[in-house]
Amino acid sequence: MKKRTILLIGVPALLFFACSKKDSTDTTTTTTTTDTTTTTTDCSSAANSPAKVVCLAEAFEALLTSSQLATLQVDYTQTNAVKWSNLPCGATCRNGLQMSNLTTAQVTAALAIVAAASGTVTDEGYSEIQQIMAADDVLKAASGGTSYSSGIYFIAFLGTPSTTGTWQLQFGGHHLAVNITYKAGEVAGATPRFEGIEPKSWVTSGTTYAPLAGEQSAMAAMLASLSSSELASAKLSATFSDVLLGPNEDGQFPATKQGLAVSSLTSAQQLLVLAAMKPWVEDVDDSTAATLLATYKDELSTTYIAYSGNATLATNADYVRIDGPSVWIEFVCQTGVVYPSQIHYHSIWRDHKRDYGNSFTF
């Protein structure tokens, strides 16, 4: 009896997701309707991603009631900035408005902001976000619980969106935390960013989805290029069942970098290290991603790579890390929660110098 009720709730959620996905593919022209007026918001003339995000954020705000606005827009404080999680803990661990509490038009407008702030590479950026959300509907159907759903994702503005001041965009839910800090119309910090997926691969209507397969294969390719002695120096003696620097671990970077110095590698191997960072860096808007990748490339000589478990990254507690002067990426395989016979992925992208736009000290 109980199970049936949950399944009935599941159907509208799946429909909702199908709709929002279709609507949001066209982000240049977003038509929104309210009770009193009909406004057409076209932010395609914005100069760059940060400006377009602000334009779309204002268009979204125009669709909200005053109480919704109060929930969406919170103060730009350290307490609010670090309030995010990878867990299915809903609103208790997050700021902002929950997607399932919004109208279709509001959801479309909210997701348009997220899309404008994200990269456009397939399986990265916004495409990846959509798939991580869709995976939660797969988990919902498989687990029969109420803690998973593509509707349990939240959007929040910390501070007032503007192209002159400082503000932070948060979007997240289970297995996803997007934190982008804007300062004077530029991305000052694209991190911390959490990405995870369960199941790591699934088929819906004949299409296979595996949004984090690129992350796994790029990291595995980097490790596969190492000789046995290089692998030995890259191997950590400790075991990891999750990422070290998940939520609430802000600023806790290890004082000494561990593993193998990238400077000791051939240029071909170094390119593989850079390629392994790409699937994370490309999640943020394309222009910011290019700038960050250039920085991370310049810093390769003082960057370290390390792993634990198996270098193939295929079983529980297989773990890999890239730690540079700026970049910090961790990727780990864990036993599934809903699918315990499979592994699932957790990963975090941080930046020693740019987390939260370097606005806070930890």
């Binding site: 867990l87 075991t239 069942s241 999750d242 507690a317």
Partner: protein
């Protein structure tokens, strides 16, 4: 990934530690496929597990002297509720014994079970019992998290300092535990109130008759309350000290039956004049339910003695408070013509609740009536206020009516 939990019971002669270790995480640090063959784990690997735990748990006094640690028992059990789904855990009970003459309240816990290898694991440490500080199993007090300090790559020891407690504080918290027990124990209260419902009335031709006078009411009331107290004090003492042991379920069913019996008595006098005996007899049963709270604390003789005394005082205070705010209205109302309706309605409602509790406690499943009673209890202060208003209205109406009659003469 699930955390470990370390529950500490601070006793006078040592510290009881319960470790709850998720098998999936233990496996990554200890190996031996513990998560795969959990059913036979303890039988298969008891010596290895004991040696492993002893190697990773050390307690040291403030003066630097090491405590003796022993593993008492190991057990595998499932955990249903968690953010990362259901899982199996190893529960280990350890005894930490300080050197002779050293306090159990101030020590450093050097603990790195699982974490020494699995650096993403955390152990949440809580005080589950510290009698002198008024901490019991129902609300463990988290005192720290043992985890890797990521910047330095070290696992820091946890300093436990439970000083500041006292016998007086322990006793006081037992009094409030007793009060809380009655305030939340709807069934105990209902039993008492229903038993008091006909107390102001005289019996006439095997039916409840007129008001017997204030003195009559108060004496009958005192008899019932004193008898109930005597009854539950005896069994509370006997059961809390372990002289008497009865399974919880039959006791709970008997309590529900006691409410049903007193509800019937409130409708028709079935044991009139013998209320005190009945109250004493049912008091014996209620006392056994009170005792289960204390028996689980596993205290030494002095603290158990003080606990029984404090707990009983708390129960009395709460009972007296409830009587003080309800009985005056009952005495007032019982002079009026409204009272039979109130008495009958109260008795029938109590009987329905009692039947629902009997079904719930026999079947081990809640039903909508027991849920409803639980919900209604939130409004208890308002219901008493309503009772007060109702009694004032009916008393003044009858007075007014009498005056009108006199005027007509």
């Amino acid at each position: 990934m699930p955390n470990s939990f370390v529950m500490l019971d601070i006793k006078t002669d040592g510290v009881n530690a319960e470790l709850q270790l998720p098998l999936s995480e233990l496996q990554l640090a200890f190996g031996h496929d513990v998560a795969q063959n959990s059913g036979t784990l303890v039988a298969r690997l008891s010596p290895e597990l004991r040696a492993y735990l002893l190697a990773h748990i050390h307690a040291v006094s403030a003066d630097g002297r090491a405590w003796t640690v022993t593993v008492r028992d190991l057990r595998v059990q499932p955990v249903e509720q968690s953010a990362s789904g259901p899982y199996q855990e190893l529960t280990a009970h350890l005894w930490l014994q300080p050197p002779v003459g050293v306090s159990t309240k101030d020590f450093t816990l050097n603990y790195d079970v699982i974490i020494h290898q699995l650096v993403t694991h955390k152990a949440l440490v809580a005080i589950r019992q510290d009698w002198e500080k008024g901490v019991y199993s129902e609300q463990p007090e988290e005192v720290g998290v043992i985890r890797l300090d990521i910047p330095t790559g070290t696992i820091l020891p946890l300093h436990i300092n439970q000083s500041g407690g006292s016998m007086w504080r322990g006793f006081k918290s037992m009094v409030s535990l007793g009060m809380q027990h009655i305030a939340e124990g709807t069934d105990h209260l209902l039993f008492l109130l229903v038993l008091l419902l006909p107390a102001p009335l005289l019996v006439k031709e095997k039916r409840w008759g007129a008001f017997g006078g204030t003195k009559y009411s108060v004496i009958r009331l005192l008899k019932v309350v004193t008898a109930f107290t005597a009854g539950h004090s005896i069994t509370l003492l006997a059961a809390a000290t372990g002289w008497l042991r009865l399974p919880g379920q039959p006791v709970e069913v008997l309590i529900a039956i006691s409410i049903l019996v007193s509800a019937i008595h409130a409708l028709r006098p079935v044991f009139s004049g013998k209320e005190a005996y009945i109250a004493a007899g049912f008091g014996l049963i209620h006392g056994m339910a009170f005792a289960s709270t204390l028996a689980n604390l596993d205290l030494d003789t002095t603290r158990m003695g003080l606990s029984i005394l404090g707990f009983n005082i708390g129960i009395e205070l709460m009972q007296l408070f409830v009587i003080a705010i309800t009985v005056p209205w009952l005495i007032l109302l019982s002079r009026t013509g409204t009272y039979p309706y109130i008495r009958i309605a109260g008795a029938i409602l109590a009987a329905i609740a009692a039947l629902a509790w009997i079904i719930q406690r026999v079947s081990d499943k809640t039903n909508f009536i027991t849920d409803l009673v639980q919900q209604l209890m939130k409004y208890a202060p308002w219901m008493i206020l309503l009772l007060g208003i109702a009694s004032i209205i009916s008393v003044s109406r009858e007075r007014y009516g009498r005056k009108q009659d006199l005027n007509r003469l």
